[in-house]
Symmetry: C2
Subunit: 449 residues, 2 copies
Amino acid sequence: MQEKNISIAGAGLVGSLLSLYLAKRGHKVEIFERRPDARKNLLDGGRSINLALSDRGLQALAKVGLEEKVLKEMAIPMYGRVMHSREGKLTYQPYGKEGQAINSVSRAGLNMLMMDEAEKRGVKIHFSQACADVDLENASAVYRNREGEERKVESDLLFGADGAFSAVRSIMQKTDRFSYSQEYIEHGYKELEIPAGPNGEFLLEKNALHIWPRGSYMLIALPNPDASFTCTLFFPMDGEVSFASLDTVDKARSFFEKEFADALDMMPNFDRDWQENPDSSLVIIRCFPWTRNAKVALIGDASHAIVPFYGQGMNAGFEDCFVLDRLMDEYGDDWEGLLKAYEVERKPDADAIADLAMRNFVEMRDLTGDPEFLLRKKIEVRFSEKYPEKWSPLYSLVTFSPEVRYSDAIALGKRQDELMAEIMSMPNIHENWDSPEVEERMLALAEKL
Amino acid sequence: MQEKNISIAGAGLVGSLLSLYLAKRGHKVEIFERRPDARKNLLDGGRSINLALSDRGLQALAKVGLEEKVLKEMAIPMYGRVMHSREGKLTYQPYGKEGQAINSVSRAGLNMLMMDEAEKRGVKIHFSQACADVDLENASAVYRNREGEERKVESDLLFGADGAFSAVRSIMQKTDRFSYSQEYIEHGYKELEIPAGPNGEFLLEKNALHIWPRGSYMLIALPNPDASFTCTLFFPMDGEVSFASLDTVDKARSFFEKEFADALDMMPNFDRDWQENPDSSLVIIRCFPWTRNAKVALIGDASHAIVPFYGQGMNAGFEDCFVLDRLMDEYGDDWEGLLKAYEVERKPDADAIADLAMRNFVEMRDLTGDPEFLLRKKIEVRFSEKYPEKWSPLYSLVTFSPEVRYSDAIALGKRQDELMAEIMSMPNIHENWDSPEVEERMLALAEKL
């Protein structure tokens, strides 16, 4: 294999992981990161939605030897969802089979761990280096530091791992036949906190993701190792019930008293959080092609930023690295063939998870409060546990089955929806859901999948 | 009314027309145009697809007193389409009722006429002034000349009429919650020429738009006042049959011999045109919002660039000006209300014509060669001529009925499609298309519209 000088713009989660994959193959890797080193200067105010690390992400971490370390040092497994009704009634729904979990991790913590590892393995990370220009023909780039000083960096190959607002992509956007979209959804989010209890205990079930589904909006909470929960309110930005309409902390508080009373009781810092934490927007980024001239390639959020409702944004970006690694085996030094294959293979999967994530928002905020929906899930889980080779629920395909492509999962999910509609229309399904008749019917229908 | 200092970025078709509307109301208007003055330096190489000026555009020109002048000085009416089969057989299809036509005009000629008029009416046009930056809060902008010298221009209001690759929009794109997409379609285009005949005569029917429909691609020709025709090949950029595959002029020539023999016979400069004229791409631009802070607004292609297949790109941009003018009557000095109403009203119409234009590509390149489709059109035209108050074909709604919004036209067209499917499934429709039974059925169905 021919050793290359490879630059990566962005030392975020995907840029750091990519550097580990490339360094492992003997390439000389340098990362240029816009922000200062978070390990020296603890930053806040940045995006900090907790992340749900699941099997696709874990598989990608395993390949560079980091799966166990991450699971052991920073992950809290969440085996299911706990739904909170307006009256404070709790309903539990497991995510998968016995023992299957998604993992709550801190974005910042995971990022720092991976930067440490990258540096240990010979990757050089330059901080406070904003990408100011890219030469797409030559994989060279200009980086500007905080003092406004610019330096030009030449390399054989440049990866843009610089996130949803990628500077590398903004250069590509101006080239002919580069299709691109940025779509802001109606909802934004605000973070709030449920701190640990008086004795350092978790005030809610620790090993679960908590949801307060309220139809057109929702609150969620993920556990942190310090026994606090990071809560996120996903809420319309404008309109009758929106961040714009809750324009004083008093209005917000009385809204929470009505809608999220049990959560509010555990939020001593509600007033401060509401006022100080921003109303942040949510954007979906799609583009194609992802590569130019076999010299420059986009990866992670830079090529496909999605909404956070399937917990797959980071996992999809990590999977990009995993796929790229497989293609490096296949293509060897043929980077032109490799990068072409990479974008052609990954694009449909990126589109699929973007759509799935938007759909899951409806599921989380609305359907998880719907008994019909919960029953359907129960029937599917029961059947798939008994006949795992015949049926795997869509959520499991996406979350626990990295061997199934996102694009195949979405297609299979569509067929499952049709079949489950038949099951749910069986007479007295609410009483007979676990009867032999339903099981037989499921068996017959599953043949059609 | 309060007189304002208004800047317009872009002296193209829409920028020039907008300046006329604003000057008429007593505002002080200055235009900053990236290119040099085309009237001094005849340019070529730019985009020059002939334009089809139709009723929406004419209505907007009429309001500033330019309709007659344009029709008289530069327009060639086209009353219908002439389809050319591979064997050279011609089929004629009128666009509307007796006397209704779309008008072939030269983009450059029309633009120069409108710049002349704008200057006559007190608008100052500055050339070779590329928009380098915009302050969206203050409607000020920085323009850079060919020597790289920059100047800052303050104004009360700034319109970005700077086209599909708008610099003003690119600044707005970086602001929060600005949704945006640029979508390159699979097809591009190349221009070719059919010159006038030996005695200065038109070699094809003058008062028609010519189409060589070939399924997945097509050639079209529009008449020019000098008796030449500008031909445009709309063709896939990549793939088996594409610009990429016709990579020598010999390959292109033998392809034309097979597919467009009658046209090729009239193209003495085919080899030169094929080699010298670029393969240009086609892009669809969508975005929202179109205005910021009641200070900056996008108009024309800057806010909604579409593909050229409905002949509505310029007409839609002119209609933007016409609508804005009506809103100026309604809102007076309330520019905040006015600009909000403008973007909310125009966005669905811009989306509708974008979709219609894409669909019309399929109609032009494929369906105009389909006897079933031609029969359907014939039935519709016959019926609408007899019962004009009961039925107006979609093409007529879009092209000849400026009182109907694009968004209403697309909705009505959808319902018409369903009804015409019923008509076309009547037994022996090919023989009985003009029978009383079909007419009665149409009358009954039309009640449902």
